[in-house]
């Protein structure tokens, strides 16, 4: 990649709009080119300045009043400010940014030969990151467990437990096939507010052997559970307390079929 190509891509990179492969290309170039790295630095400081300065205008009350009258409803109470959508895309962007950095680290670390447990954790984080970056969170998008579960039929040699926990604050978003440890696994996607949770599931040949594990890896929390003959790995940027709530729901007797 030459500098001219990069100067344009740098913006898409900064906006979290590049796929993983091209993001890695950009990062590789930035490591070797001081001029482009300076551009990147300047761009980041510009964007951070734009974000922190109070540049957005809020609708004046008079406008809100007039617009509410369009509705021909009595303007009984003004809508709370909190109705305004949270600026989730920022979160995604920074998540994607950090995630790219994490992915680069993972790639960089691999040849050194980490312990098998570390390798798995890296793969899990990497799988989580990939799902967020490539716009490929789910292959089957549904909050209906009866849609998601049959979708895996014929795609996997095991039947993952699929359950919606919307009532407990963890709505099921969908499912997808992923590839971990040299095998196809199912990835169930849940949400907790704006946080995405990937739950990777695959069979274990030694049921009960795996101890529940909780760890933090490059800013992502990982929790494992063995339920029946299946390994469950939860990966998210969600805090460990809430993540373990979902793990407990999944591991709770009676929730598994």
């Amino acid at each position: 990649m030459n500098c001219a190509d990069l100067r344009l891509l740098l913006h898409a990179y900064s906006d979290g709009e590049l796929d993983l492969v091209r993001s890695l290309d950009v990062e590789q170039h930035l490591q070797t080119c001081a001029a482009c790295a300076a551009q990147n630095q300047s761009l980041r400081s510009l964007r951070s300045a734009l974000r922190s300065a109070p540049l957005a205008y809020a609708a004046p009350p008079s406008l809100r009043q007039k617009v509410r009258q369009l509705n021909r409803e009595p303007a009984d109470s003004p809508p709370p400010e909190s109705l305004r959508q949270p600026r989730a895309p920022w979160l995604w962007q920074w998540l994607a940014f950090g995630a790219t950095a994490a992915a680069v680290l993972i790639l960089a670390l691999r040849p050194v030969g980490p312990a098998p447990g570390d390798l798995l954790a890296d793969e899990l984080v990497s799988g989580h990151v990939r799902s967020l970056m490539a716009g490929h969170l789910t292959d089957v998008q549904s909050s209906d467990q009866h849609t998601v579960k049959p979708w895996f039929n014929g795609k996997l040699d095991f039947a993952p437990t699929v359950k919606d926990f919307a009532a407990q604050g963890f709505p099921l978003v969908g499912g997808r096939l992923d590839y971990l440890q040299g095998r196809a696994v199912s990835a169930l996607v849940y949400r907790r507010n704006q946080h995405v949770i990937n739950v990777f599931v695959w069979p274990t040949d030694r049921p009960g052997a795996g101890q529940p594990v909780a760890e933090n890896r490059r800013g992502f929390n990982l929790i494992s559970r063995d339920v029946d003959h299946l390994h469950y790995w939860l990966v998210s940027d969600l805090n460990p307390t809430e993540l373990s709530q979902l793990a407990d729901l999944i591991g709770k007797p009676g929730t598994a079929p």
Partner: protein, 177 residues
């Protein structure tokens, strides 16, 4: 679990589709119009249109849908009232962008007033892309839908907008180191 049926049917969508995004609508109108009074007129008219054509809302991101209406309303308004500022973008795009000695100023000390003035200096389409991206957090796809241009154009407009801000601040830095 069916929806509650005891209350009278709420007006379809208005509370969800228009009102929650009123700040975003006004913000875009304000940045396009350049003053409070015109911005309020544009935002109000856009909301009225949104309400009138609410049947055209097909689900999806209601904010992007409303912003597209604000944008069209603003452009119609600007053409009617300030035709002189509607310079074809192509003329400006060439001039502004590629200076070989790329400046890379640091914005850490940029204050809000300076930033605001610099963004106001940007050509309309660049300003619009920048506001939608940086202040409203829209994705490239959403900006492309709002501005009715291809994704590649969104990327290049953002790049040029930011490039111009860099150049403006570089100049200011030279005057006021």
């Amino acid at each position: 679990m069916g929806p509650s049926v005891s209350a009278p049917e709420p007006p379809a969508g208005f509370e969800q589709v228009v009102l929650p995004h009123l700040d975003a609508a006004y913000n875009l109108a304000r940045w396009l119009a350049g003053n409070d009074h015109d911005a309020e007129d544009i935002a109000q008219e856009a909301c009225a249109r949104a309400w009138q054509f609410r049947g055209g809302y097909r689900g999806g991101d209601s904010r992007a849908w409303l912003l597209a209406i604000v944008r069209n309303t603003a452009y119609t308004w600007l053409k009617k009232n300030r035709s002189r500022i509607m310079v074809p973008l192509e003329d400006q795009e060439v001039a502004a962008v590629e200076d070989a000695t790329a400046s890379a100023p640091d914005f850490h000390n940029a204050d809000a007033a300076m930033l605001r003035a610099a963004v106001e200096e940007l050509p309309l389409e660049f300003r619009e892309a920048l506001v939608l991206r940086e202040l409203e957090g829209l994705s490239y796809k959403e900006i492309a839908d709002v501005a009715e241009v291809p994704l590649g154009t969104v990327m290049s407009r953002l790049a040029r907008a930011r490039r111009q801000l860099q150049i403006i601040f570089q100049r200011k830095g030279e005057v006021n180191p």
